[in-house]
Amino acid sequence: MTAVSPRTDTDDANDVARSLTDPDRFGVVFDRYFSEIHGYVARRLGTDAADDIAAETFLTAFRLRRRFDASRGTVRAWLYGIVTNHVSAYHRQEVRAYRALERAGLDGPADGHADRVAERVDAGAIRRELAGALGELPRGDREVLLLVALGGLSHADVAAALGIPYGTVGSRLNRVRRKLRGLPGVARVIEREERSDG
């Protein structure tokens, strides 16, 4: 009984179910996902906002745990749904940041792998393009894009997180990807990569 088996979605759901009568049990869910949720928000809005939003997300999740329905999706998707709602309160700031980046084209939301990007492409131009596109995306499209690109969520998880039909995830994502590929700098990079790969 001491054997450790990999965590599964069912284990997660059971932990949430048990936390109804054993609130401490929710700590297991926190331990498993806090860093991931924090990282997701930190990439979008910066570390300071993430500190607050991630904490608030788990408090909300705890309070709403009775409403968690394992038949509708995974715990991870449910947490991303909650964090999406919290992030939406920062919608204007986020869009302002994209616009500022579009004009400046310098640093991203924070420093990191810019050097690596710069080696490959004219990073500044691409950043400006992406920032502009992200700022203009309809909110629903942007959430789908970021849950897939940053959160690494499956289409099913995105559908569960946002409470939208599965097919809508695919159509929104396709629309966004087409739009991004249509950006000149982005198109150039992809073309260059494909040439060097092929």
Partner: protein, 422 residues
């Protein structure tokens, strides 16, 4: 390289959260999740009282009609055990709406009569002789849970008792869901003074109780989000279902039936397993308090008789466990009892409405809570668990008799081939 990769690179990776941030967030969660130490959780996951669904449904119908408290439910016998007499808590006739809770004659909790080891070791010997029934489709544990809750407007708080039937149907097959079900049975007022305050409040039939899974504390409301409470009985409602094979929560671990039945019968090893994953940093009491809360639930699970005996030996090994001798429980049944009293420094949390979110604010005041475990003299199985304040936070009052704030009447757990209720 595709456009999604470019988006990922646009949003640079960030360092992991600072450990201080993580611990602050966890503390925030703990403040939101823990209303108060050692409170009986409502309704507990793996609790008892074998009330057939049919009987429960009939009871519900009775209450909806009259708002009078239900008659006693019959408890099914379990192989190797003797059926317990079915008698409910004393329920006086209602006058002017809601009845006032009264302890049955002789049910006041006596003072300690010395160390509790002897009672526990006797129980250990009794349960060791039990037969182990063959598994069927579901293992049903249930209980009648009573919680005293502080409700009412500021300046006119009063205490009500909500009584709930709680059932857990653990499926033997991992493919079948294992539902936990709950049914609101009835509401009473804790004392005549509470009845007067309730009338002054306009005799409401519903309240919002600022607690979830925890109990209101003597300092006011516990943390958690609002939970509606109604005097009307409700149907047997599925709260959630566990899926998969690991249906038995032992301490902090989820076990399959096979793992449960392979638990060691050595008390020291068993104690170690029960405490695995527990930390004093969790708050809510010391290791003895934790084991005192955990062990009765495990006694009700389909463990081997040798393990059940070892569980009592674990309790007997704990320092500070007292004997209360022969007692009458809240339901009027006779048993013997042991108790453990602990002082807590964080007895109360208040909640404030900030915008649309509840922000719990700790009000660290001390109190002492006594956990009483009543053991059936015949089969050595837990009969009832009663929690009460033996010392209130300074300046606070608690009107329920004997300082009682929560109890649970354990039924006899049983295997069944019946279909589950939901």
């Amino acid at each position: 390289m595709d456009e999604l990769q470019l988006v990922r690179e646009f949003f640079n990776e960030q360092p992991p959260p600072d450990p201080d941030v993580v611990s602050a967030a966890k503390a925030r969660l703990a403040r939101g999740s823990r209303g108060r130490p050692s409170a009986r959780r409502l309704p507990r996951l793996l609790v008892r009282a074998g009330i057939p669904a049919v009987a429960a449904a009939a009871v519900a119908a009775t209450i909806i009609m009259t708002v009078v408290v239900p008659g006693p439910a019959s408890r099914p016998p379990v192989a190797g055990g003797s059926p317990r007499p079915a008698s409910g808590p004393a329920r006086p006739k209602q006058a002017g709406g809601l009845a006032v809770f009264q302890l049955p004659p002789g049910a006041a909790i006596p003072a300690s009569a010395g160390p509790g080891q002897q009672i526990l070791l006797t129980a250990a010997r009794t349960v060791a002789k039990q037969a182990q029934p063959a598994p069927e489709r579901y293992y049903v544990t249930s209980g009648i849970v009573g919680n005293f809750l502080r409700v009412g407007p500021p300046g006119n708080h009063y205490v009500v008792l909500e009584v709930v039937d709680s059932q857990y149907w653990a499926a033997r097959s991992p493919k079948a869901g294992s539902p936990q079900l709950s049914q609101a049975l009835y509401v009473q007022l804790a004392s005549p003074a509470d009845q007067a305050a309730w009338r002054a409040d306009g005799s409401p039939a519903t309240w919002n109780v600022g607690q979830d899974g925890e109990l209101a504390s003597p300092t006011g409301m516990a943390s958690g989000w609002l939970h509606p409470l109604s005097v009307a009985a409700g149907p047997l409602t599925p709260m959630n279902a566990l899926y998969g094979a690991q249906q038995f929560l032992v301490g902090d671990q989820s076990l399959t039936l096979a793992q449960l039945q392979a638990l060691p019968a050595d008390p020291a090893r068993l104690k170690q397993l029960l405490l695995a994953g527990w930390s004093p940093a969790f708050g809510g009491g010391d290791a003895t308090s934790f084991l005192f809360q955990t062990v009765p639930a495990v006694l009700e699970m389909p463990v081997t008789p040798a393990v059940r005996s070892a569980l009592y030996q674990v309790l007997a090994s704990l320092p500070g466990v007292q004997s209360l001798g022969a007692v009458t429980d809240v339901a009027g049944e006779q048993g013997v009892a042991v108790a453990y009293t602990q002082k807590y420094s964080d007895c109360g949390f208040e909640v404030q409405l900030k915008g649309r979110t509840w922000a719990p604010t700790p009000t660290f005041s001390s109190c002492s809570v006594q956990q009483v475990l009543v053991i059936g003299p015949g089969d050595g199985m837990p009969l009832a668990e009663e929690l009460r304040y033996t010392q209130l936070p300074p300046g606070q009052t608690w009107s329920a008799p004997d300082g009682l704030f929560s109890y649970e009447l354990f039924g006899t757990p049983y295997w069944t081939n019946q279909n589950r209720p939901h």
